[in-house]
């Protein structure tokens, strides 16, 4: 009887001994050895089960329960221990795999659009959202479309405003502005109302230097309708400037002269570089010139097929490269078509 009671104590001892032994186990082989020793076929707890038959009927359930409990406890402890060892050994392994995370990565080639394309797209996108659709027209133009129909007759003093590339074919020139597209768009779309943007390359007979190019992009805005006012022109330009340069930017229209618009204006905008406080970019004036614009001259409307007594409209011209020059503080406009990869890769 006393022996029977002792077995319960013995089981407690087995559990304590097992758990104590487990404390010293620190790796996979140790775990295996411990499993054999404490949970294997001839482990003390297992032998306790085989001895159950020898135990009195009354005490047998209590001893059996106790043996089972000890086995479960040891198994649980083993599992816990195994998990700990696994984590620790993984950690150890990972610690040996430390990279120099500051070494440069293997970069897939990043393709880019040309900065002029990026500037054009940004501007076009803004105007498209305002309902202006892109309209394209030729770069090699007739004198008639580039000048005459835009109210710039031959020998008119205004012709001095554009230095022109002439071709060997009389009457054929490289367009000096995107404005001939106005006439083309009007003639195609008359008498419908118009809201188009005319982007594209224009040419000037001008020695190139840091601030002058013989070829550059222009974006022209054209709106024709029955009730289009100079206030609308101002609102449109102001909306554009806000989208392009920020909510706070203020624009101002100053009287200017273009033969194909009247009234005509230059658009100046508060310098976004210095916040109009005065800096090198705005030549300390606080203002940047960004566009020329005006209400369509009646002669131009007429040449486009619209009756100026009924229709009115406006036109505005912007230089995307000029805007990029200001925005990215590019000090030489020739960079654009020189296509030096060291320049292009910065955009």
């Amino acid at each position: 009887m006393a022996e029977d009671v002792n077995i319960l104590d013995e089981l407690d001892g087995i559990q304590q001994a097992g758990l104590a032994a487990l404390e010293g186990v620190s790796d996979e082989p140790g775990l295996q050895a411990w499993r054999t020793a404490h949970l294997g076929r001839s482990a003390p707890v297992m032998l306790a089960f085989t001895r159950l038959g020898q135990i009195s009927k009354e005490l047998r359930p209590a001893v059996g329960q106790k043996a089972n409990q000890v086995k479960l406890t040891l198994e649980a402890a083993l599992e816990e221990r195994a998990e700990k060892i696994k984590t620790a050994s993984l950690r150890q392994k990972l610690d040996t795999e430390q990279l120099d995370v500051t070494l440069p990565g293997r970069r897939p080639t990043l393709g880019r659009l040309h900065p002029a394309t990026q500037a054009l797209s940004e501007i076009i996108h803004i105007f498209e959202e305002m309902g202006f659709q892109e309209y394209r027209s030729p770069e090699v133009e007739t004198d008639e479309l580039n000048f005459e129909l835009l109210n710039i007759p031959a020998h008119h003093p205004a012709r001095d405003m554009w230095d022109t590339f002439h071709t060997t074919q009389p009457g054929t020139i490289l367009r000096t502005h995107t404005s001939p597209g106005q006439i083309r768009a009007m003639r195609e779309l008359c008498p419908k109302p118009i809201r188009v943007i005319l982007p594209g390359m224009v040419y000037r007979y001008e020695q190139t230097n840091a601030s002058h190019e013989m070829q550059f992009n222009q974006i022209e805005l054209l709106a024709v309708g029955k009730n289009i006012t100079m206030g609308d022109l101002k609102g449109t330009i102001q909306g554009f400037a806000r989208r392009m340069f920020g909510e706070a930017v203020r624009v101002r229209m100053r009287p200017s002269y273009f033969p194909f618009t009247e009234p005509s204006a230059d658009v100046v905008m508060e310098c976004f570089v210095c916040g109009s406080k005065g800096c090198q970019v705005c030549k300390y004036s606080g203002w940047l010139e960004i566009a020329g614009c005006g209400m369509l001259h009646p002669v131009v409307l007429q040449n486009g097929g619209y009756d100026p007594a009924v229709y009115s409209g406006f036109a505005a011209g912007l230089g995307p490269e000029r805007i990029a020059l200001l925005k990215y503080q590019i000090d030489d406009i020739r960079y654009f078509w020189q296509n030096d990869i060291r320049f292009l890769e910065q955009f």
């Binding site: 393709g111 040309h114 205004a158 590339f165 054929t172 013989m214 101002k234 009247e262 292009l344």
Partner: protein, 848 residues
């Protein structure tokens, strides 16, 4: 145009500070490009030198305490130096001795006390001036020193030292009425406004013109110069005759006369104004013509009357105006003998040409030091002819500048009279009474009209008819209001106002200008949006640009101007027998940029070459037009193209992988395949190409639905040799953008994502070397039918095991059905069909 503030103030009261005046003018279309101070204080310095300066203000401010009017009472020799003199000078506070080397004082040396003291600009110790001895404008402060044993702590100034002009030959000598001791800035301090005159505002290329604008913008009265000619002179009648041969060329010709002029310098104040306005003073007679031109805007010309009489053989001179005869020449007063064009208008007499009308006088009849009798011309010339003459003669003059923009004929008489008055005042002499005035084509000053509704419709502002009339009246329009309409008669000093619809726009601009552009409210267009138009080509082009960038290519944009030689590099392997036609410039800036390009590829290759040494790998593309002349048409075809050029390593080397596999044909082909996929061009056919630029064995032509899209490949070695490339291969492509856009599917169908697993199988097929991979794949697809969902070539093998002249192509195939898992039997069946078909079509055997 340079406008001295003091001159402006002769005609209008200006109480606005300088910066505000500049802003008011700029905001009215008279842009002030800058201000040069000549003595007056700098408002920015007075305001603590802010960083923001809306108008650039430069120049010298004269310290009122240190720079004053002084008088030289005696000029004495220097005891130790011949080239220096000592001046006994009074600066208002007392007498002192000042040393100077000014040569224009030497005449007075040793004459004892001067009967009439010389008035000069005197700078005391510590004055800030420009250094007269250094080129350019270098500021210096006057310090006490000893020159040749004589104390020197102050000086009498030259114009250069005061920032008036470059003149440093002698000191400036003021008019006699200059008050001794007065601060120089108070006596003659000025500020010169640089006004940008717009091409349609030539009426404002004068002091009175700008004063008129200031008056209108600041609500002040304009004080036009008063013409008060001395009475009692002999009558001009019979002294000269005028013959105008074509009134279209010469609408008006006015002559006035002055007898007994003395050739002497103008008063200093006149000289000063001319200098500040950018003209050189000559003598009182010539200065008067220039002064009145700057004052009124009417150019004038003075003839030596006695020369004209002599040329007329002692008879009454007859002035004749006409176009130049063929082959006619004239020596102008700059000494150049000029061959004249038939559009050049001349002022002649019976003996021949005297001057280029409205541009430059002739040498023979010009004013000389001996001239005392003057015939003064004020005329009106056709602006087109004047403009053409200034261009063809490459002659720019103040007169030509004004006449080539159109001067109102009313100014001719006014100008002659005012000039005679000034000449008589400055050079003496007797003014003849009356004018000889031929005016065959009188100006008609249009009456334009504008209604309140027009103002609302064009400007977006609401003004009453009375308000409109009031605005226009400020600019001297004579206005009549009838209901809602204002009838405005153009004042007789401007030619830029039209009638009808043009006149209305002209008035709208003037109303907006005087009302103020700033006051026009910014509004949104009330009208609805017009109908949208389909613009698929533009959208596809945009997609292509983006796809190419995503594929790792850098976009470039080249000059469209090039040279045939540059483009001929592309055809070096096979030069063209007839040179291609180009859009050729008549006035190229350089021969390298003399024609519009025909080849976009040539342009991109140029760029690739320029950058080749900068990067291990380069892949560039450009989208843009080429220009192909069309027989019998004024304009060329502007065909948009896409060109690609690549060279160098497949991947840029990294720190752990320095292997440098060079790009080849298949790298470019991959880019093209991906591009075509991006814009959904299906059923593409690649076939060997014959193209002069490319390696015949390593190039292909791409077509879709029988339409050629473009050609690409490795550059022909002879073409590549034209360039400076180190890499073994340069890959290039040239595509017709329009064909690509047309081939791009606007609509395509997708296949459902499969639910049932595929059966995967690898097949190695042995074919003759000459068989194209594309044909093998086509045969596999034909045999496999719809259940064959993927074909991927994963290996090519050549070797003894399969026999010479043969190759083994290994494919990884996927068989898959949309509605069930394929059974092994079904897969086998597909496999058998494929093997049968490839044997039939390309003679392929299964490699076992």
């Amino acid at each position: 145009m340079k406008v001295p503030l003091s001159w402006l103030k002769d005609y209008v009261d200006i109480d606005l500070p300088l910066i505000e005046l500049a802003d008011v003018l700029t905001m009215a279309g008279l842009e002030i490009e800058g201000v040069t101070l000549v003595g007056l204080p700098n408002p920015y310095e007075q305001a603590g030198t802010p960083q923001r300066r809306e108008v650039s203000i430069e120049g010298l401010s004269w310290d009122p305490d240190k720079i004053v009017v002084a008088q030289i009472d005696e000029v004495m020799p220097h005891p130790n130096a011949d080239r220096l003199v000592l001046c006994r000078l009074n600066d208002g506070s007392g007498e002192l001795v000042v040393l100077t080397g000014a040569p224009n004082l030497f005449d007075f040396k040793g004459r004892g006390p001067l009967a009439k003291p010389l008035k000069v600009a005197y700078a005391r110790e510590g004055a800030r001036l420009y250094d007269g001895h250094q080129p350019g404008l270098v500021l210096t402060t006057l310090k006490r020193t000893k020159i040749r044993g004589v104390d020197s702590f102050s000086m009498v100034c030259s114009e250069k030292e005061l920032g008036i002009s470059e003149e440093h030959e002698g000191i400036l000598i003021l008019d006699d009425d200059a008050p001794t001791g007065m601060a120089l800035v108070d006596y003659m301090g000025d500020a010169v406004l640089e006004v940008n005159i717009l091409p349609n505002m030539i009426r404002n290329a004068s002091m009175v013109g700008i004063a008129r604008e200031v008056a209108a913008l600041t609500n002040k009265p304009l004080r036009s110069p008063q013409i008060i000619l001395p009475a009692g002179g002999p009558a001009i009648a019979g002294k000269a005759k005028i013959q105008i041969s074509d009134p279209q060329l010469n609408a008006r010709f006015v002559l006035g006369m002055l007898e007994g002029a003395e050739q002497r310098p103008s008063p200093y104040k006149v000289q000063l104004r001319l200098r500040l306005a950018g003209m050189r003073p000559i003598n009182a007679v010539v200065d008067a013509t220039n002064y009145v031109m700057l004052e009124l805007g009417q150019p004038l010309h003075a003839f030596d009357y006695d020369v004209l009489v002599k040329r007329a053989g002692g008879q009454t001179p007859t002035i004749i105006t006409r176009a130049a005869h063929p082959g006619e020449t004239l020596t102008t007063l700059d000494g150049v003998e000029r061959k004249l064009d038939d559009f050049t208008v001349l002022v002649c007499d019976t003996a021949g040409a005297l001057s280029l009308a409205g541009v430059m006088g002739g040498q023979e009849s010009e004013i000389t030091p001996a001239t005392c009798n003057i015939l003064l011309e004020g005329a009106t010339w056709n602006f087109v002819n004047t403009r053409r003459t200034t261009h063809s003669q490459k002659l720019s003059s103040e007169a030509g500048y004004r006449f080539s923009r159109g001067i109102h004929p009313a100014l001719a008489a006014e100008g002659v009279q005012l000039c005679l008055q000034r000449m008589a005042e400055w050079s003496g002499g007797v003014v003849y009474s009356g004018l000889v005035d031929e005016y065959p084509l009188p100006a008609v000053d249009p009456e334009a009209q504008i209604s309140t509704a027009d103002v609302q419709r064009l400007l977006g502002i609401e003004l009453s008819a009375a308000e409109i009339a009031a605005l226009l009246s400020k600019l001297e329009f004579t206005c009549r209001v009838d209901g809602d309409t204002v009838y405005a008669k153009t004042p007789p000093h401007r030619l830029d106002i039209g009638s009808g619809v043009i006149g209305r726009a002209d008035l709208a601009e003037e109303i907006a200008r005087i009302y103020g552009y700033d006051r026009i409210p910014a509004t949104n267009m009330a009208e609805g949006l017009p109908d949208a138009r389909a613009d698929r080509p533009i959208q596809v082009e945009k997609q292509m640009r983006q796809a190419l960038a995503r594929l790792g290519l850098q976009e470039v944009i080249n000059y469209r101007l090039t040279s045939p030689e540059r483009e001929a590099r592309l055809t070096a392997a096979q030069p063209e027998t007839t040179p291609p036609g180009y859009i050729t410039l008549k006035n190229p800036l350089s021969p390298e940029r003399g024609v519009m390009r025909r080849s976009l590829l040539a342009a991109v290759l140029d760029t690739l070459e320029k950058n080749a040494r900068l990067r291990d790998r380069l892949a560039l593309f450009e989208i843009g037009p080429v220009f192909l002349p069309v027989d019998g048409k004024a304009l060329p075809e502007e065909a948009p193209h896409l060109a690609i050029a690549m060279t160098g390593q497949r991947r840029p080397p990294t720190w752990d992988d320095r292997a440098s596999t060079q790009m080849d044909y298949y790298d470019l082909k991959g880019v093209i395949e991906s591009l075509l996929e991006a814009i959904h061009i299906g059923a593409v056919n690649f076939s060997p190409a014959e193209h002069p630029a490319f390696h015949p064995g390593k190039s292909a032509q791409v077509s879709a639905n029988g339409v050629v899209l473009g050609t690409f490949g490795e550059l022909h070695p002879q073409v590549k040799a034209q360039y400076d490339f180190l890499a073994p291969a340069v890959l290039a492509a040239d595509f017709d953008l329009t064909a690509l856009i047309q081939a791009a599917a606007s609509r395509y169908e997708i296949t459902p994502v499969p639910v049932f697993p595929p059966v995967l199988e690898d097949l190695a097929l042995i074919v003759e070397e000459s068989v194209a991979a594309a044909d093998v794949e086509a045969a596999i697809r034909q045999g496999g039918g719809k259940l064959l969902t993927e074909v991927r070539l994963f290996d090519i093998f050549r070797g003894d095991q399969i026999g010479a002249g043969k190759k083994s192509l290994a494919y990884s195939l996927s068989y898959q059905a949309a509605d069930h898992t394929l059974s092994p039997g079904e897969a086998n069946q597909i496999r058998r069909r494929i093997l049968r078909r490839v044997e039939q079509l390309v003679g392929a055997q299964l490699r076992s």
